[in-house]
């Protein structure tokens, strides 16, 4: 049973001709089409309806098709919270606020006090005003909410006087992201580049000083300096790539990607490295075309690459890196898949979810699991593995070739794809990383 029952159906289906609000809907529609510069035909394109529809239906369809979330709110008395109801919410608003399809009280959809205040000001003070709004979903987004009073009072079914307001959300995530990205980039870059830079200047000084005439020392120093310079350039590459991914994190990827192919490609490119280290691959993959996910191919490749690369890096010679793809899991199934949590916990490690997706309608995921037989990690390190520059103390990662950003990049890409990420590890039992992605919605 829904919590907040509404006395009347709230979301008018386009077919309904009973809307008492037709007059102001008409005005609103005229304004909106004027503002957006869209002709009615163009809107009909987006949501095809039979040609002989009535004007009111067309207007509702137009509002429904608007890309920005839009609410119409109705209220009776200022102190009557249950009197504030959402009488219309377009598709974008329903998606943003998860409004139950049968309609809802305003507070059941929005609790944010400033937004409620802005709406109240329009309803009872007849003032248009605005405020920023950050719903706390997995992908951080920033909206600007504008509320404006709508003219004309109506009467509810009980005969009470109602007031109406229009609430419009515009997306300001991009602007905010770009600003934050600059700040973060500068902070991280200056902090992390300091160490290699200090060592470079140190060596330069030595080369000018007492190592000036020692060809052997000069060679050695130059070699170290090359390594440091390479490290700095890798670091900058990774930071730039992370910033780019973060910037687009709220935009879902388009396109589809075959995980089996991706894993095979990545395994091929890593062969030289595994041959050198004496590490073997054990691949358990479904047939091509079976492990399809909705995703950006390049980014997915980067995820798989980082995970397998890490596993190989931390594998001692003579061991195996197992890569497995499992299809047709629910999000719960993905979190629980092949759990060895108890054995891990007994050995001082454990299993932990590093990223959990928001609940989505088609609950179908494909999981990629990369397991190594390396040294493993203590439980205490697990929650922080995907933090930037977090390093597990005392762990040898093959002469510090890592930048400390690999898993952070993985996490941000997976989050952009609305997926999840798990780790399972214990000292002596190796580490397993798993990521899961939603399967593309079936068309047709």
């Amino acid at each position: 049973m829904p919590l907040f029952q509404s006395p009347s159906p709230v979301f008018p289906a386009p077919s309904s001709a009973r809307s008492p609000a037709r007059g102001w809907l008409q005005r609103l529609y005229d304004d909106l089409t004027g503002v957006l510069g869209r002709s009615p035909e163009r809107v009909v394109d987006a949501a095809p309806i039979a040609p002989a529809v009535e004007a009111a239906t067309l207007q509702e369809a137009a509002l429904e098709a608007l890309p920005d979330p839009l609410l119409l709110v109705e209220a009776t008395e200022p102190n009557d919270l249950t009197g504030r109801r959402i009488t219309f919410a377009n598709a974008a608003a329903r998606e943003l606020l998860r409004i139950p399809a049968s309609g809802a009280l305003l507070v059941s959809a929005i609790r944010h006090p400033e937004v409620l205040e802005v709406i109240d000001e329009s309803l009872f003070g007849a003032i248009a005003s605005e405020t920023p709004y950050e719903p706390r979903s997995a992908q951080e987004r920033v909206w600007r909410v504008r509320a404006a009073p709508l003219p004309g009072q109506g009467r509810s079914a009980d005969g009470e006087v109602t007031r109406r307001a229009l609430v419009h959300f515009s997306d300001e995530t991009d602007a905010r992201r770009a600003e934050r990205m600059r700040v973060d980039f500068l902070a991280n870059a200056s902090h992390e580049l300091r160490t290699p830079l200090a060592s470079l200047s140190g060596f330069i000084e030595t080369l000018r000083g007492h190592a000036k005439d020692d060809p052997q020392a000069r060679d050695q120093f130059l070699r170290i300096m090359t390594t440091q310079a390479e490290r700095m350039s890798r670091l900058i590459d990774d930071l730039m790539s992370l910033s780019r991914i973060e910037l687009n994190e709220h935009i879902p990827p388009s396109g589809a990607c075959d995980l089996t192919l991706t894993v095979l490609d990545v395994a091929d490119t890593l062969r030289p490295m595994t041959a050198e280290k004496g590490v073997k691959f054990d691949l358990k993959l479904p047939k091509r075309g079976e492990a399809l996910i909705a995703g950006d191919r390049d980014q997915i490749t980067q995820v798989v690459q980082n995970l397998i690369d890490n596993a190989v890096k931390y594998s001692p010679s003579g061991t195996t890196v197992a890569v497995e793809i499992v299809t047709g899991l629910t999000s719960e199934g993905a979190t629980a898949y092949a759990s060895n949590a108890q054995a891990m916990a007994a050995a001082g490690g454990g299993r932990l979810s590093l990223l959990t997706p928001d609940r989505a309608a088609p609950d179908a995921y494909v999981l990629v699991r990369v397991a190594d037989q390396g040294a493993g990690m203590l439980r205490e390190h697990l929650p922080r593995l995907s933090e930037r520059f977090y390093r597990v103390e005392g762990q040898k990662s093959g002469a510090s070739t890592g930048t400390g950003l690999g898993l952070a990049i993985v996490k941000h890409i997976v989050n952009r794809h609305r997926g999840g990420m798990l780790v399972e590890s214990a000292p002596g039992l190796g580490s397993t990383f798993a990521v899961y992605f939603p399967t593309p919605a079936r068309s047709g």
Binding site: L81, V107, R111, R136, S353, T356, L382
Partner: protein
Amino acid sequence: MMTANEHTLKFFGEELQQLKAEVARMGGLVEAQVADSIRAVAMRDVGLAQLVVGRDQKLDQLQIDIEKKAIRMIALRQPVAQDLRRTVAAMKLSWNLERTGDQAKNIAKRALVIADAEPLTPLTRSVERMGKLVLARLKDALDAYTNLDLDQAMGVWQKDQEVDEHYNSLFRELLTYMMSDPRTISACAQLLFVAKNLERIGDHATNVAEMLYYEVTGEEIVGDRPRWNGGEGADVDRGFA
């Protein structure tokens, strides 16, 4: 025509909706308080911290209002079964939210002290990260309450340990910092309290989920709360705050 009995039932339904709406609104205010207190710590924003401290009174007032209304409803309408559970749950929830608000106020007070000290950027980042996790739990719990979503409530309940683990990890990190540089001790100690407050807020979110479960089913959630007691932080767990 309605009978007198139906009238009472209709009234009660409306009053209950009103009560739940007020709890939801209070929840929104608490979420904002927690979010703002975390931001005050992260951005060293003294003005925002003072604002959070000042706004706490409003929460106390809301809590008293909700409690009065609930008691009045129980006294006058004498609800039974689920109606009674809903009324009581609303009251219990308001207590919980008020306590959560207090934790946010405490964090804001710490933020005032932290803003005076030298910046400890990597540490405040970690605290901010934990804050976001706790906020997500709180949001999920309140969403579950407004939508009567038992699955979501169970999710919050089961994920309780993630917050605890974050706390333990942060605890260790702060200790390491204090040991390596004693000048940071006073600021780190403040951050430690902030982390503890956040952990408590996580517990409150779990309580909200438990109350919702009780409200809907009339039963307690079966089984122990998943909990991990392995870390140093866990040993001194109940010693703080």
